[in-house]
């Protein structure tokens, strides 16, 4: 579904991603772990071109998205993204946050978008917040809304960039449970996270990144149970 070939990215002289090749299959739940500064977020953000790769190609559904002539907006409509800091639009109500993109991109009419939004809000138990503003919500609620906002575009894949890192501890659970439901529904997901419990439970594949490279990957059993790479062992000993 997403094919990454020889992806490199540098900021000035600093090489953040070093020749990464990886394939994400439909239905995959890929969880990326690694120390901070390892390039996990940059890798995730490259997948929908929020970061422009310095070298290499990324192909999504047969379309080379690194080609400058590709309509990147059309590609991004099929890739939902959830950010660490939610990035809800504070100048709009929750409902408008969710319906803006489907309506403006011509995916749905206003009425369709609103009924989709209400359905999704009901799924995460926040339908009574439809007319509230983001500043009136808790962090956990904001992140659930951000997930709903991305889902409203009917994406084929969801990218999560440390979705629980900015949350108070008691709110992590409500966000993770929404993500687990999503995983159970068969959504293709790529998740950068420090939640090892979530990685072990939901991940179909774990990627361990350090210094811009994928050093080890495998199913959770193998990565957490029998880590091979010394740096992965070192990392796990610190976080588990």
């Amino acid at each position: 579904m997403i094919d990454v070939k020889h992806l490199s990215k540098s900021f000035g002289d600093h090489l953040v991603l070093n020749d990464i090749s990886e394939h994400i299959y439909p239905g995959d739940k890929v969880v990326i772990i690694g120390p901070s500064g390892s390039g996990k977020s940059t890798f995730l953000r490259s997948l929908n071109l929020l970061e422009e790769p310095s070298a290499g190609t990324i192909t999504f559904d047969g379309v080379n998205i690194t080609d400058p002539s590709t309509d990147i907006n059309a590609v991004r409509r099929k890739m939902g993204m959830v950010f660490q800091h939610f990035n809800l639009f504070p100048n709009m109500t929750i409902l408008r946050n969710i319906t803006l993109a489907p309506v403006r991109t011509g995916l749905m009419t206003q009425a369709e978008a609103e009924s989709t939004a209400m359905q999704l809000l009901r799924r995460v138990g926040l339908e009574e917040k439809a007319n509230a503003y983001p500043s009136q919500l808790s962090g956990g609620q904001k992140q659930r809304i951000a997930i709903v906002r991305a889902l409203a575009m009917n994406p084929k894949v969801m990218l999560f960039d440390e979705p629980t890192s900015a949350l108070d501890p008691e709110m992590v659970g409500e966000v993770l449970s929404v993500m687990k439901e999503l995983a159970a529904d068969g959504m293709t997901m790529v998740v950068v996270t420090h939640e090892m419990g979530f990685a072990r439970e939901v991940g179909s594949r774990i990627l361990f990144m350090d210094q811009g490279q994928i050093l080890e990957q495998g199913d959770p059993e193998a990565v957490f149970g029998h880590p091979q790479n010394p740096r992965l062992r070192d990392f796990l000993s610190k976080v588990l």
Binding site: A74, R76, G80, P90, M92, L100, A101
Partner: protein
């Protein structure tokens, strides 16, 4: 009226009380020959020139801010040469306008560039607008740059175009953030219209000058004009406050 004539004689003889002298000077400054009408016309011109200058300033400011922001936000290694040229022009404009006194700009525009024009008010409005545009451009640019880049990223990651992201997400938030600075700029502009008298603009200060040119009594016309400016600024500050409060509705908790 009769009292005015009588007290005027007393004053000339040097026998008027403080109150009588005050009344005579006040009468001369505002009431004799319906002079208050001149002040009213002056206020009208001041407001028209302010409005015209504001429109020019905001239009120029938006244009310059958009060019400069679009230039700065280009992806590294992908520089558009036309945008580069426009950006250089904008930089020169901002540097020259901010680097020279408004009074000198007015004199150059009035006596050199538009020396044959008789429409002093509009030459003044144009100059003020061009001047204000440079400051407004920097205010807008500051507002756009201060906004969390995550907002634009969220918009783009949903598949919205650059234009839609600016229109629905970036600009409304930036506008709210820069409104106090814009209001400040507007008030400065309102007061700076007084400078157009130097090229013959017939606004409020011109009215005062015309009147004390005939009565040789400067205090009342000038203090009166100062009071009128003060009242205008207070009214506009109040209106801006209402607008700010309305825009801040989404912030309530």
């Amino acid at each position: 009226m009769e009292q005015y004539e009588a007290w005027k004689v007393l004053m000339r003889e040097g026998n008027a009380t403080f109150f009588q002298e005050f009344y005579v000077k006040f009468y001369q400054a505002f009431l004799e020959g319906d002079r208050w009408i001149q002040y009213f016309k002056g206020v009208g011109t001041t407001l028209v020139v302010t409005a015209a200058a504001l429109a020019i300033g905001i239009a120029l400011g938006i244009l310059v801010a958009m060019i400069r922001t679009a230039h700065d936000q280009q992806r590294p290694g992908k520089h558009n040469p036309i945008l580069g040229l426009l950006n250089a022009v904008c930089k020169v404009y901002v540097t020259v306008i901010r680097g020279t006194p408004m009074m000198v700009q007015l004199l150059i525009m009035g006596f050199v560039i538009f020396s044959s024009s008789r429409n002093y008010n509009m030459v003044g409005a144009l100059t003020l607008g061009i001047n204000s545009g440079a400051y407004v451009a920097e205010i807008i640019r500051g507002g756009l740059m201060a906004l969390d880049p995550g907002q634009a990223e969220a918009g783009r990651s949903l598949g919205l175009s650059y234009a839609d992201t600016m229109r629905f997400i970036v600009i409304p938030q930036a506008f709210k953030a820069i409104l106090p600075s814009l209001g400040n700029e507007f008030i400065i502009l309102l007061k700076d219209t007084s400078l157009i008298t130097v090229i013959g603009g017939k606004e409020l200060v011109y009215a005062a000058q015309a009147i004390y040119g005939r009565t040789y009594e400067q205090m009342f016309p000038l203090v009166g004009v100062a009071c009128i400016y003060l009242v205008l600024v207070i009214i506009f500050s109040w209106l801006l406050g209402i607008l700010e409060r309305r825009l801040r509705q989404s912030d309530r908790r």
